[in-house]
Symmetry: C2
Subunit: 378 residues, 2 copies
DNA sequence: TTGTAGGCGTTATCAC
DNA sequence: GTGATAACGCCTACAA
């Protein structure tokens, strides 16, 4: 028999307090408390021995572990904020999250796609620990859809963020108003006079990307004379992400005068590509991102973007799972949409304002405008 | 009796396969396998019923839950990378992490300090779930030191990152070579001719900050004629962090010609403060940060900084806890130091190079150089 | 090779 | 009010 780190149990307290273990359980649960005498003895013994309940046991008994599986990495600012929201709500409800995501192995630029085939293993790590529900980020939900059955078939509540699963999974979802955001961007650019616009879209498999794209394209199409050329960004790692498509858009013979990037990360690449080709933002090109990531306001010029309530989205997702865990009968799936807000900054300007500099500084800048263009570290 | 979501147990498989539950346990454990016939029946039944082991039960039996408590938020790039490292190592070892940190409640700029008094609750959430060990980030380790006793007194392995706990806790730690980094920065600045330098230090309670500071100050002091003026950055939220001290340093009568900021986050604030006072980097002021955060190379000019192997630090921390969980007898605490590397970029320049512009562009820039200085969003 | 029985720490249901 | 006792799902002797 190997040594195991055994902690104080109710049995020990029972002996110490001179009562039965069952009594200890009742007293500690705070229910139909016995005599003051007994209660005091039990509580004192528990305190003295630094007793702590064993939630594992409670878990196998009650079927509730008070643990939620969260499959979302601290990928960028947006997702970090989401994780904060989830954390805070779960914590307040005395729950805890097990954070997992697609394995990535090795340092350096992170692969958005999982290279290994162990998605199932990851899912099982959660199921084997009997989590009460799971929250999934879009990449995981879409890539591993074949395995999500593992959750739903076991009646585990599933909540996705920024992604919609097929109805059969009966999953809840939390979105921001992607369609509204896409239309707002279109309206903004159209109002500035732009008619030849480009869109750097997210993956067609991602619901958030599709919604932003179709809303944007639709709104542009409704304006007579306006056209939109869309390219889908690739899913390279952090440093190559979307840069090829950004260059492609800017190298077009009839180059768009405005670009809507489906995320701030993509937008940053457009800054890079524009600097390479000496295209000035916003004089020669208006640019809009999406998310209002932490760096958006610090780009030069500051990026016009659509702000999503990342923290709140995390909160809502957590609230949805928690609600499901308390349910006796399964209700209809819920699809929440949280409001977005267009944040207009310096990266968008009226069409044909080319010769007007923004700050009144007469010198046109022909050096790279985005910090970090020069990648040659010394 | 309330409905609980019960999953397939070995008992069910036993019935299904016409054997005893104990046999099922043995077969599934892969040990001293019985007859091929029996084994096949059991395995098939298990597969058909989609059986999954219950690690909670295994946990209470073996004393190992294969769960590690990680008290570190996805605070910034550095910590996100650390979390990636931890995740990958734990995952490969078929473990899982419960991520918790100081509660923060509410969106917006994050408080580095926990406002609430529920540190103990957080710790207990881990203990009650019988994690096999914990990894702590410095802010947590230092702020809640009074409560860390909860872990050590229960014989739970504790590993800190970037922080050293008193010896009584017998905790392991993972650092990067802070002293080496501090000296390297000093040497770099001295070599560039700077003699009047400033240091924007981290909290005196944080080991990483103390090490960087004393190494830097020590190396400066060794150079005849060189002096260092140090101010300690305050711990406001994300937007106010250290900005006051940055301004303070730049407003000194005998303003330093070079500043070493204890973190890239602080350094970014120096960019802001310098821009406000029309102090040019690196012409008027050389600046060095610490960490090589993701934004460091994208600042303008790109920030000279000390790169830490964030991902590896996470890996090492995870490896340390895992090693402890397998230990039979407790060994001496280990203190790992991982190598750092000075990354020289555009934010540092030789003293008295004031009139030479860096890029050969004759026009001195008097507009804010750091993106995002202009905070007036439309 | 396989089955029986005891135990892990707790909750819940009974008796007393 | 309090104490047995039977679960919960699994492991591990030990017995057959």
């Amino acid at each position: 028999m190997h040594e195991i780190r055994r902690q104080i149990s109710q049995k020990v307290i029972a002996v110490e307090a001179g009562v039965s273990q069952a009594t200890v359980s009742l007293v500690l649960a705070g229910r139909d408390v016995g005599s003051d005498q007994t209660r005091k003895q039990v509580l004192e013994a528990a305190k003295r021995l630094r007793y702590r309940p064993n939630l594992l046991v409670q878990g196998i008994q009650t079927g509730k572990t008070r643990m939620i599986g969260v499959m979302a990495p601290p990928y960028d600012f947006f997702w970090s904020e989401v994780l904060y929201g989830i954390h805070d709500v779960l914590t307040n409800a005395d729950h805890v999250s097990i954070n997992l995501w697609a394995a990535h192995r090795g340092p350096g630029p992170r692969q958005r796609n999982s290279p290994s085939g162990d998605e199932l293993e990851q899912i099982h790590r959660l199921i084997d620990r009997r989590v009460d529900g799971v929250i999934l980020w879009p990449a995981f939900a879409s890539m591993f859809m074949a395995h999500i059955h593992e959750f739903s078939s076991r009646n585990l509540p599933v909540v996705t963020i920024d992604h919609e699963l097929p109805a059969e999974f009966r999953a809840d979802s939390v979105f921001s108003e992607d369609a509204r955001g896409g239309r707002a961007v279109a309206a903004h650019l159209l109002a500035l006079g732009h008619r030849n616009v480009g869109h750097l879209a997210g993956a067609a498999a991602a619901t958030w990307a599709v919604r932003r794209r179709s809303a944007f394209e639709g709104a542009i199409a409704e304006c007579p004379g306006a056209t939109c050329f869309t390219v889908e960004a690739d899913h390279g790692d952090d440093t190559t992400l979307a840069i090829k498509q950004a260059r492609e858009l800017l190298a077009m013979p009839d180059r768009p005068t405005a670009i809507f990037a489906a995320s701030d990360l993509y937008a940053k690449q457009v800054y890079h590509a524009a600097a390479e080709q000496k295209i000035r933002i916003p004089q020669d090109l208006s640019l809009v991102g999406y998310s209002d990531d932490d760096f958006a306001a610090e780009l030069f010029p500051p990026l016009t973007t659509v702000r999503q309530p990342a923290y709140d989205m995390g909160c809502k997702a957590a609230e949805l799972v928690l609600a499901r865990t308390k349910e006796v009968v399964r209700r209809e799936p819920q699809n929440l949409k949280l409001p977005v807000e267009l944040v207009v900054r310096g990266s968008t300007a009226p069409l044909n304002a080319s010769r007007n500099t923004v700050s009144g500084n007469g010198t046109a800048r022909n050096t790279p405008v985005l910090n970090g263009i020069s990648r040659n570290d010394g």
